[in-house]
């Protein structure tokens, strides 16, 4: 019995006298925890002493229990303090250690880019949407009549000279690759009743292939048909559109021109103050022959239409010198916008 008391006394004294020193010698968390286990681990000295408790005489147990708990408290506090000190030192070391090389390449998933023609197209669609125009589309291969006759092109007329057309083999000249997006004007009007406020971008084709022409390119067609639509309204819509697209400091000029499907017809030029005029689009009041062709009564409704090339707009906007670059699809080019 007294042997147990003696061992207990001795054990407690050893622990009490040694733990602080040992903790202080721990250099890092891992060794600190190893040292801590020597005292309070499953087989640690303090744990063993606790197990010895039941061998103590009953009248001393309470006293020893209190003393053992007291020591345990000191050990735990010592551990916590040392742990905090080690953590603080490590944090301090981390904050004062070598800096990372912030110039190494990023880890990222680089997004791709939209084609420059798509970018201008979206821009135009957004502006026209805000002006009340909805989007439409149509087939790239269409009837000859939708491309020419219904748009008032007289048969065998030089007005078609600018529309050097690709025809579909075996269609006897009846099916062609549309030469302009005005085919969509015809199709929408045949399908629906006024009021119509529509813009229709799309791919068009002409048999031209040289430094400034691509046999496939892009246009956007727009038209407004309702009662009482006037040339003044045409000028209003297109002026606002061009100011939003190019900045409100630009000057806009409407110059008489000729397209078989409009009358009066105009071309629109823009220039920056002091700059040279640049032609951007063609437009006009929809010709009565077009209304008659789609079954509208030209005495009841009027309308305007306009069309512009998207490729040249993209070229001007992004400083692209050659239209061919738009269709070469060089990844260095595509990734630049």
């Amino acid at each position: 019995m007294s042997d147990a008391v003696e061992r207990f006394e001795k054990g407690l004294a050893e622990i009490d006298g040694g733990f602080a020193q040992q903790y202080a010698e721990a250099a890092d968390e891992e060794s600190l925890r190893a040292i801590n286990a020597r005292f309070v681990g499953a087989h640690g000295s303090l744990t063993s002493l606790m197990k010895l408790m039941r061998e103590l005489p009953g009248d001393r147990r309470r006293e020893f229990g209190q003393r053992a708990n007291e020591i345990k408290g000191k050990v735990t506090a010592g551990f916590d303090a040392r742990l905090a000190a080690i953590a603080a030192a490590e944090r301090e070391a981390e904050l004062n250690g070598p800096a990372i090389d912030v110039t190494l390449p990023a880890r990222r998933h680089a997004p791709g880019r939209l084609h420059p023609v798509t970018r201008v197209k979206n821009e135009l669609l957004d502006i026209f949407a805000s002006l009340g125009f909805e989007q439409a589309d149509g087939p790239e291969i269409d009837h000859f009549a939708n491309c020419f006759n219904k748009l008032g092109f007289p048969p065998d007329h030089p007005a078609t000279d600018e529309h050097d057309t690709f025809f579909v083999a075996g269609s006897d000249g009846k099916a062609l690759l549309r030469t302009h997006t005005s085919t969509i004007q015809v199709r929408e009007m045949e399908k629906r009743k006024p009021p119509l406020a529509v813009v229709a971008p799309g791919v068009v084709y002409r048999r031209d292939d040289d430094a400034t022409h691509s046999p496939m390119f892009h246009q956007i067609e727009g038209f407004l048909v309702d009662e009482g639509v006037s040339f003044s309204g045409l000028k209003g819509v297109l002026t606002v559109f061009l100011e939003r697209l190019l900045g409100d400091e630009i000057e806009v000029r409407f110059r008489p021109s000729y397209f078989p499907f409009v009358e009066p017809g105009a071309e629109v030029d823009v220039r920056r103050p002091g700059g040279a005029w640049m032609e951007v689009l063609g437009c006009g009041m929809i010709h009565p022959v077009v209304f008659e062709a789609v079954g509208y009564d030209p005495s009841a409704v009027s309308g305007f239409a306009f069309g512009m090339g998207l490729d040249r707009l993209a070229m001007v906007r992004y400083g692209i010198p050659n239209i061919k670059a738009l269709y070469d699809n060089d990844v260095r080019f595509l990734g630049a916008f």
């Binding site: 997004p111 989007q135 406020a197 040339f231 409407f254 008489p256």
Partner: protein, 826 residues
């Protein structure tokens, strides 16, 4: 169309600077694209030769004494054509400034210098040196007496001009002549155009056939009042016969006899020179001048070369041919209109003459044709023959049928004048049915409502009269008989444009109209296409746009369906058929990128493919195509792209549409690798195929051994999925934690991972997700087996899960795996 400022000024009576004129022309819709100045030399005067002596050392040089009005001086001259004393020449005095010889060159200043040892303080000039034309060898010598010595060049010759280059629209044939342009100018500047000088018109015999020179004598019109007998024309009277009055509604002919072919006078040469027309001879130049003045082509025949002294206008017979002036033998068909003499064709009507009746150096008598041919007929012939001439350009746009007498008179007058001949007073005019301009009413209310502004009440009548219409007032507007030189004016809208453009578009104030909103708005499919492009870029793909026409060979290399929509008239074999797959275009772009050392190409395109349809129009299908090639990068590691990179790009692009399913395609399309490709689904909707390119296809497309992965999905199918999916509803966010258990299973290698995951998931309602986190294949495993390890997340939405519940569910899962998947727990 090139137009001379000097000429327009004469014809229109408008007194304005070239710049002012150019601006008004543009405002009128005759867009002036450029101005070219033809300058006049400064310090050049008329000088009279008074003496000539030889040069002391050089044979070819002479010392010429001239009187320049303020005294005499001696100059050294090397020209072979110095006139005898009394002749007038042009002297560039000391300090004279000659225009630069080349565009952008320096002007040449005359200084005193020694020519072969003899000092010369001036220069006798050629037309070339004065930039007045191409004028042959030698100095300019005034014909006849010439102006007084000392007269400035600008006063002595009609020199100096500005030429407008006008971008003419095809509806304005009248402006293919200076008179038409002048008429618009006069209207714009509100001046009255002077009377046109056409000379006295000949008297006409009318009918469908007739004879020129059927009377014994003819009144001389333009050459001094002598009487001339037709016997002076060696072959006697000329018979005219029009067989096809539909293709040739009007044919007029006149004759000029006794001409002498030679160079044109200066004024004519210079006018043509400024307008970019080469001077040929006085007679040919005269026809060109009249064409440029009236916009109406005329044709001159050598009278004596017309066999049988006869002109017949008829359609060609099948198999007939003609050798045109350009030396080409042309095959004709029965849609072509011919001008024939007694034996055969002498011209393709309105297009080009033949060499057999051409005016040559020996021509002394000329028959002049001025006709109105059906524009469509001329155009068909000209296009079919690929023969576009100044004449066909004008005829196919429509010349003025009623200008024939005036043009003929003018042509005969000019020819007689410059050729020194006599114009016969009687001509033939075959014009069985008079063509009248349409009578069109213009209501003032319609004008104002279409333009959207109020227009001064008298402006419409003023404008239309100035443009040549006969105008009378009617109730609420005017009635106009439109001139036949304006075939583009046929209805009210046309007159509204005329009034608007001459009054000025700038008077129409812009006003943004109320746009009535439609009920439908932009179709959702179009918005979806746009969103698809955006999400594809989000997946790291660049957007490409490739040609929709490809070569049959490219489709074959791509193992795509052969094209059944072909072009009749492709630019080349390379762009001759409509694509059935977007692979050829994207592959080209990717190969191009890799060849130019790009590490990778990640591309997509939303574009159409074409198949033969039921109707005359093909079926167009919109495709979403993705192509990955080159390296994929994991950190600093590079490796070739593979199926899984492509799968990721597709999933990232389409994440909004719901869960994608990739099923191994037992019958993969020919362009894909049979072991490394899949069919792609959302739900039960098949979208298309995705996979690594078949190595043979990759080789054919010249990927140079690099791997590439390609998918082509149907946008229509994707859109159907979008419609079926509807609007996604907000999920309920779980409040209780999940419990995770892992399981590693040894399975047959062939068993798809997704199938395993799906089987595991179906074993308990508590399983929220089954996530594959490791695939192990290797030597330590039995043949044909692989190990798949999954995190299984268990969650009870109603409460916290107990270990007991999870254990029960997990052991059920393990049992099911063994039974249903023949899996062995590892």
């Amino acid at each position: 169309m090139l137009a001379s400022y000097r000429w327009l000024k004469e014809l229109s009576g408008v007194d304005a600077s070239p710049e002012e004129m150019a601006e008004k022309l543009t405002d009128a819709g005759l867009e002036v694209e450029s101005l070219t100045v033809f300058p006049v030399a400064q310090g050049v005067v008329v000088a009279e030769v008074t003496a000539i002596r030889p040069h002391p050392t050089k044979d070819k040089l002479r010392l010429v004494t001239v009187d320049h009005g303020e005294g005499t001086q001696e100059v050294v001259c090397g020209a072979p054509n110095v006139p005898e004393p009394g002749g007038k020449v042009l002297l560039a005095k000391l300090g004279a400034v000659l225009p630069p010889q080349k565009e952008g060159g320096e002007p040449f200043v005359i200084a005193e210098r020694a020519v072969a040892g003899v000092p010369s303080a001036g220069m006798l000039c050629s037309e070339t040196e004065l930039s007045l034309g191409e004028g042959g060898d030698g100095i300019y010598v005034f014909p006849g007496k010439g102006p007084a010595a000392g007269t400035l060049l600008a006063d002595a010759l009609p020199a100096g001009d500005t030429v407008f280059e006008i971008g003419l629209t095809p509806n304005r044939p009248d402006c293919l002549g200076h008179i038409g342009i002048a008429r618009d100018l006069a209207a714009m500047f509100k001046v009255t155009m002077p009377e046109l000088n056409v000379g006295s018109p000949p008297t006409y015999a009318e009918g469908v056939s007739g004879v020129i020179g059927s009377k014994d004598t003819f009144q001389l019109q333009w050459s001094g009042g002598r009487e001339v007998s037709i016997e002076d024309a060696p072959n006697g009277p000329l018979t005219l016969d029009v067989k096809d009055t539909a293709r040739c509604p009007r044919y007029g002919a006149a004759a000029v006899i006794g001409v002498r072919v030679g160079p044109s006078p200066f004024w004519l040469r210079y006018r043509l020179h400024c307008l970019g027309v080469r001077s040929i001879s006085n007679l040919v130049d005269a026809t060109n001048l009249v064409m440029l003045e009236w916009g109406h082509p005329i044709h001159g025949f050598d009278y004596e070369k017309l066999r049988g002294t006869k002109i017949e206008v008829r359609t060609a017979q099948a198999g007939e041919s003609i050798k045109t002036l350009d030396g080409v033998e042309r095959k004709l068909n029965d849609d072509d209109l011919l001008i024939c003499d007694g034996e055969g064709p002498v011209a393709i009507a309105g297009v080009m003459g033949a060499a057999n009746s051409e005016i040559g150096d020996a021509t002394t008598n000329v028959a002049i044709e001025c006709a109105y041919f059906d524009p469509r007929s001329v155009r068909r012939t000209s296009r079919r023959l690929g023969l576009h001439t100044d004449a066909s350009h004008r005829f196919e746009r429509g010349v003025d049928p009623n200008a024939v007498p005036a043009v003929l008179a003018r042509a005969a007058a000019v020819m007689a004048e410059v050729g020194g001949g006599i114009a016969l007073a009687e001509a033939i005019d075959i014009y069985p049915a008079k063509i009248e301009g349409p009578v069109v009413e213009l209501r003032h209310s319609a004008l104002e409502s279409l333009l959207g502004v109020s227009v001064p009440a008298d402006e419409p009548a003023r404008v239309l009269r100035a443009l040549g219409a006969k105008v009378e007032p009617i109730d609420g507007g005017i009635r106009a008989t439109t001139p036949t030189w304006r075939p583009d004016l046929g209805r009210e809208a046309d007159l509204i444009e005329e009034v608007a453009r001459i009054w000025g578009y700038e008077h129409i104030a812009p006003m943004v109209p109320k746009v009535r909103a439609s009920r439908t708005g932009t179709p959702a499919r179009l918005l979806f296409e746009r969103a698809l492009r955006d999400s594809a870029t989000g997946a790291g793909l660049h957007e490409a746009i490739t040609y929709a026409f490809v070569s049959p060979e490219d489709l074959e290399k791509s193992a795509a369906a052969p094209a059944d929509v072909k072009l009749d008239n492709p630019l080349s074999e390379a762009h001759s058929v409509m694509r059935t797959s977007l692979l050829p275009g994207l592959a080209k772009a990717a190969v191009h990128a890799l060849r130019r050392q790009a590490p990778e190409a990640r591309l997509f395109e939303v574009g159409r493919s074409f198949r033969k349809g039921q109707d005359v129009l093909p079926q167009e299908a919109t495709r979403f195509a993705l192509l990955l090639a080159g390296s994929a990068q994991d950190g600093f590691e590079h490796r070739d792209v593979d199926f899984y990179d492509l799968k990721g790009a597709i999933e990232d692009s389409l994440s909004e549409l719901g869960a994608l399913r990739f099923e191994f395609a037992s019958e993969a399309p020919a362009h894909l690798h049979p072991r490394r490709s899949a069919q792609v689904f959302i739900g039960e909707t098949a979208l298309g195929f995705a996979g690594e390119l078949h190595p043979d296809v990759a080789d054919a497309l010249e990927f140079g051994g690099r791997r590439a992965a390609y998918a082509e999905l149907s946008v229509e199918a994707l859109d159907a999925v979008r419609v079926a999916r509807g609007t996604p509803l907000a999920p309920s966010i779980p409040r209780y934690p999940f419990v995770s258990r892992d399981v590693a299973l040894l399975l047959d290698q062939e068993r798809p991972a997704e199938h395993v995951a799906e089987t595991l998931r179906s074993t308990s309602a508590l399983i929220e997700s089954v996530e594959l986190f490791d695939v192990f294949e290797g030597d330590t495993l039995p043949d044909g087996k692989r190990s798949l390890a999954f995190h299984i997340h268990y969650r009870d939405p109603e409460g916290t899960l107990t270990d007991k519940k999870v254990d029960k569910a997990h052991s059920k899962l393990v049992k099911a795996a063994a039974k249903e998947l023949q899996a062995e727990l590892r």
